[in-house]
Amino acid sequence: MTSPILPIHTDRLALRTFERGDIEGLNAYHTLPSVQRYVFSRTRDAAEVAEALEIMRGHVSLQRPGDTLTLAMCRNRALIGHVALHWSDATAGQGEVQFVINPVHAGQGYMGEALAALFDLAFDHFRIHRLFARCDGRNHNSIKLMQRLGMRLEAHYREHALFQGEWDEELHFAILDREWQRSTKVRDLPMRHRVA
C-alpha cells in the first residue's frame, strides 16, 4: 500500500507518527488506571511504556497484512492520545481501529475528530472495505463514540476470553466503506462555513 501523506491536520489536531520525544507525553497517560483498565496490552511502569513507544514508532505504514499504522494525536504540539489502524485481512479488506486518549483531554470531541480522519484515511487512501473496533462492554465512553461515528454493533461476546484475569464482555462495532458518512465533518461546521 502506498504511504499516506503525514501529518494529517484536522480542525484542532495533528496526526503524525510517534517520535522518541513522545516518551514523556505517553508516560503521562499510558499507565493511568483508567487507561490501563481497557487497553489490550498492559504497561505497568516507565520501562514497559518505553517498549510500547518503540513498537509504536515502527508503525509507520501499511505494507503487508498484519501491519499497523499508529498515529499520535497532537493538540498544540502536545501529545494527547493515539489512534491505530491494523490491517487485519488483505483479501477481504478488513481493518481494526484502536484508540486511546489521555483522560485529561477527554470530553472535547478530540477522539471523534481523530477517528473521522482515520476512517477517511482507511477508506479513501487504503481502500479498506470494512473497519471494526473492539471494546469492553462496560466502556461506555467508547461505545457512545463508536455509535456517534455511525458504527453498528455486530458482536456482543460474553465470557469468551479472559481479559486481565476476568471473564470479558467484548463488543465489536463495524462500519463498511459505503456506510461511512464522510460529509459528517461538513455538517458539524458552524453555519457560516457552509456553502449556501
Binding site: A155, R158, L176
Partner: protein, 199 residues
C-alpha cells in the same frame, strides 16, 4: 483439560462414534450434494475427496490442545446408516472455549436427529470437557443451522457483515454461544420436567 471420551456415545435413537474407512460411501451420499455444500467452507465433494475427509476424521477423537477436534459419525440406530457428523473443536484451553458444528444429510431432516446429536456433544463438552463456553457459527442464510442453535438454547452473539469472502462473495455470518451454567440450567429443567421423575 484433556478430553478422551469413551466411544460410542449413545443417545435415544443415535450412536455417535469415530469415523471408519467403511463410512466413505455414506458420507459421499450427502457431501456430494450442492444443497449441503452451499453454506460450508468446502464445495460439494467428489468420492476421492470424501475418502480423504473420512481419513482425516478417523484420528480426530480427542481434545488436548487448541485447535484439536472431535468429529464423530452420527449413525441412526434403526437402520445403521450414517446420517451426518457432529464436531467439537477446542478453541482455547486456557479460557475453556469450544465450538460445535454439524453436517447432516437432508434426507433425514425434520426428525430432530441433529438436535439430539448436537445436544449429546454439548453434554460432552460441558460435562467431561469442562468447557466454560461453546459457540457455533453459520451463514445467515443457513436457516436450519441457526434454528438448531436456538433450539439448543444458544444466544446470538454476533452478526458479521462483509467481514470475509466465502467462495468469492461477501460473507454474512451468525455466531451463537452458550455458557456452561446456561446448559446445565437447561438440562436440569428438562430432567425435573419428566413425568414420574424424582422431585
Amino acid at each position: 483439560m484433556a478430553l478422551y471420551p469413551d466411544y460410542p456415545i449413545r443417545t435415544e435413537r443415535l450412536t455417535l462414534r469415530p469415523f471408519t474407512r467403511g463410512d466413505v460411501d455414506a458420507v459421499y451420499a450427502y457431501r456430494r450434494r450442492e444443497d449441503v455444500a452451499r453454506y460450508l467452507f468446502d464445495v460439494a465433494l467428489s468420492r476421492e475427496e470424501c475418502a480423504l475427509a473420512v481419513q482425516q476424521r478417523i484420528g480426530q477423537v480427542a481434545l488436548e490442545g487448541d485447535g484439536d477436534k472431535i468429529i464423530l459419525a452420527v449413525e441412526l440406530d434403526r437402520n445403521g446408516s450414517v446420517i451426518g457428523e457432529v464436531s467439537l473443536i477446542l478453541r482455547s484451553a486456557d479460557a475453556r472455549q469450544g465450538e460445535v458444528g454439524w453436517i447432516f444429510d437432508p434426507e433425514y431432516q425434520g426428525q430432530g436427529y441433529a438436535t439430539e446429536a448436537a445436544a449429546a456433544l454439548l453434554d460432552l463438552g460441558f460435562g467431561p470437557g469442562d468447557l466454560h463456553r461453546v459457540s457455533a457459527r453459520c451463514d445467515v442464510r443457513n436457516d436450519s443451522s441457526w434454528r438448531l442453535m436456538e433450539r439448543l438454547g444458544m444466544r446470538r452473539e454476533a452478526h458479521f457483515r462483509e467481514h470475509a469472502l466465502l467462495k468469492g462473495a461477501w460473507n454474512e455470518e451468525f455466531i451463537y454461544a452458550m455458557l456452561r451454567r446456561e446448559w446445565l440450567g437447561r438440562r436440569n429443567a428438562v430432567s425435573t420436567a419428566r413425568p414420574g421423575g424424582d422431585q
